[in-house]
């Protein structure tokens, strides 16, 4: 409550804590989540599956979109093949049937993979909100290490539970190497 004044003077994105090890980060993230914070994020140079549990991250939409892409690609490929062979350009080749299902399987299969693969990659990037040219976390000077060797946790001001002084205190209680304010 008292921090609101600080916000006005100094537009703040959040408070960031830096940790030395993966274990500390996971523990910190779990505590933060348990403390009721929701608008916060952990930054780590390697994917940590433990964080998914600790932060309650269970977004399965990438799989869902990929499945939809696979179904659309497969049915599209099969339809394309049979439409071309039977309707658009029916060619009689040695009396073989126009609709020859075994012969359509390769194209169907490739279309399934193509569309599913593209959906998987594109939906991952889109759901992650990328490409994003600017993000406040990079304002923290040491944040560059997040892609190499250090672990970070940032609680954002948007969180309803955010309170400047209290949040700083809370983060300091997690035994970080450093706590920093993140300019917006």
């Amino acid at each position: 409550m008292s921090s609101h004044s600080t916000l006005d003077v100094h537009p703040l994105y959040g408070i960031m804590a830096e940790f030395a090890t993966a274990g500390e980060l996971v523990a910190a993230a779990r505590k933060t989540h348990e403390a009721g914070f929701r608008k916060f994020d952990a930054y780590t140079p390697v994917p940590l599956h433990e964080l998914d549990d600790a932060m309650d991250l269970h977004d399965n939409r990438v799989s869902l979109f990929t499945l939809i892409g696979a179904i659309l690609g497969g049915s599209g490929g099969f339809t394309l093949a049979s439409w071309i062979s039977a309707k658009a350009l029916p060619l009689n080749i040695g009396g073989r049937p126009l609709i020859s299902i075994p012969m359509f399987i390769p194209v169907t299969f490739e279309c399934t993979i193509l569309i599913a693969g593209l959906t998987a990659a594109i939906s991952m990037i889109m759901l992650n909100g990328l490409p994003l040219p600017y993000h406040p976390v990079f304002n923290v000077e040491r944040f560059g290490a997040a892609s190499k060797s250090k672990f970070f946790l940032c609680i954002e001001t948007d969180d309803p539970k955010f309170d400047h002084a209290a949040t700083v205190k809370f983060l300091e209680s997690l035994n970080p190497e450093e706590v920093a304010e993140v300019a917006r």
Binding site: E50, G94, R96, S100, P102, M103, I105
Partner: protein
């Protein structure tokens, strides 16, 4: 948590269960084998032999599949194999009997195999293949197969036992060293065995992928059986704490891969023969895509591929011992249909294919199944359920526990 002090011998409850299974399957096996043999007199020699071939080759496949999987595991390692190594070893021990079970087929070959029938000796196609398809060589090959299969089985089991007892890595190395060429021998023998016993039912037809398909089919049968057995054992000590969900998951993935591989190989064969449409090849499919057999083909497509494929995509179904074992048992059943589909249509006419299955086609696989399972369950309790001398055992036990 798993510790090295724990024993991996069978718990008494499990031993009881296995004994019960063994007795039941022995009983069922004997009854159904007796029924099958009665078919020789009631239904006729040829129909009896066809059904006998289905049952015998199917359960031989289960045994040889265990041998193949065992050797693949010994070469590549991996936690999945550590959990099923003992069941696989038990499975290989059935080969002694299953090899001998081919004897009636050899003895009565002229009644089953056209090429062995003197009445067809003058046929052009039979003569073209006479250098390979003749009775003395047929017998000789059977002896060679036996030497390879039983030799491998004997040595692998012996060294595995010694590995346990001595805890010496010498035997681990020996096992690996034997398995690598063993896999080569496995592929060659099962290829030629499937040409001999299955493909030559129709001497006019040939397909190069056939042996590979039978090897994969046998592997799938064996894997499904062993998964079912393992899932059953997870209810009892020591497997209840040794087997993690991750192990089941990996085995499920492997079964999924086998299902896909089976479909892939079958589809490849179908597409190539379908598009070629050559009279000497396509007849094989004409018999299987007409006269009622098309429904069997379709059900194979749906039940042998599509359904297991869809079910095994799910992570949770693979990680649950109950569901994975049900899927595995289902796959074993549909594998029998696949074998019937391979054998029976050879005896229908190309011009008027007709779906005609005798009751023997059911009693023979059940009979041999009972026999096989009885042998298997007899061999299973002989040794600790995990390979205690294997170098990577601890790592395998920790598999799926590190998170």
């Amino acid at each position: 948590m798993t510790t090295t002090e724990q024993s991996y011998a069978m718990s008494p409850q499990l031993a009881d269960t296995v004994k019960k299974y063994q007795q039941t399957s022995a009983f069922v096996g004997l009854v159904f084998l007796a029924l099958t043999i009665s078919g020789y007199f009631f239904v006729g020699a040829q129909q009896f032999l066809r059904a006998y071939l289905v049952g015998c080759f199917f359960w031989f496949g289960a045994g040889i599949g265990c041998l193949g999987l065992l050797m693949v595991h010994l070469v590549t390692g991996g936690a999945w194999g550590m959990m099923i190594r003992r069941p696989l070893e038990a499975g290989t021990k059935t080969l002694y009997v299953m090899w001998l079970a081919f004897l009636p087929l050899l003895l009565m070959a002229p009644k089953l195999y056209l090429w062995a029938d003197p009445a067809h000796a003058a046929d052009k196609i039979v003569q073209a293949k006479a250098l390979y398809l003749n009775m003395p060589f047929f017998w000789l090959r059977w002896v060679i197969y036996g030497a390879v299969w039983l030799g491998l089985t004997t040595l692998l089991n012996k060294w595995s036992k010694l590995e346990d007892e001595t805890k010496s890595t010498d035997y681990s190395k020996k096992l690996e060293a034997l398995s690598a060429p063993g896999i080569v021998a496995f592929f060659l023998t099962i290829t030629f065995a499937s040409v001999d016993f299955l493909m030559s039912l129709d001497p006019t037809w040939a397909s190069t992928i056939y042996g590979f398909m039978q090897a994969v089919g046998a592997g799938l049968t064996a894997l499904a059986l062993i998964i079912a057995v393992l899932a059953m054992m997870t209810k009892y000590a020591p497997m209840d704490h040794a087997v993690t969900k991750k192990h089941l998951h990996d085995l499920g993935k492997l079964m999924f891969a086998f299902v896909m591989l089976w479909a892939y190989l079958n589809f490849s064969q179908l597409l190539i023969i379908w598009s070629g449409n050559l009279p000497q090849e396509i007849t094989w499919y004409i018999r299987r895509l007409n006269g009622g057999w098309e429904w069997v083909s379709l059900s194979l497509l749906l039940l042998h591929f599509a359904l297991p494929f869809a079910l095994l995509l799910s992570q949770s179904l693979k990680r649950n011992a109950n569901t994975i074992s049900r899927i595995a048992i289902f796959i074993v059943c549909i594998r029998v249909v696949d074998l019937i589909w391979l054998v029976e249509p050879n005896f229908t006419s190309v011009d008027h294919p007709l779906l005609a299955i005798s009751w023997l086609d059911l009693t023979a696989p059940i009979g041999f199944g009972g026999l096989w399972l009885a042998l298997f369950f007899r061999a299973l309790p002989e040794r600790p359920l995990l390979p205690l001398g294997a170098p990577d055992l601890q790592k395998a036990l920790n598999h799926g526990r590190d998170h």
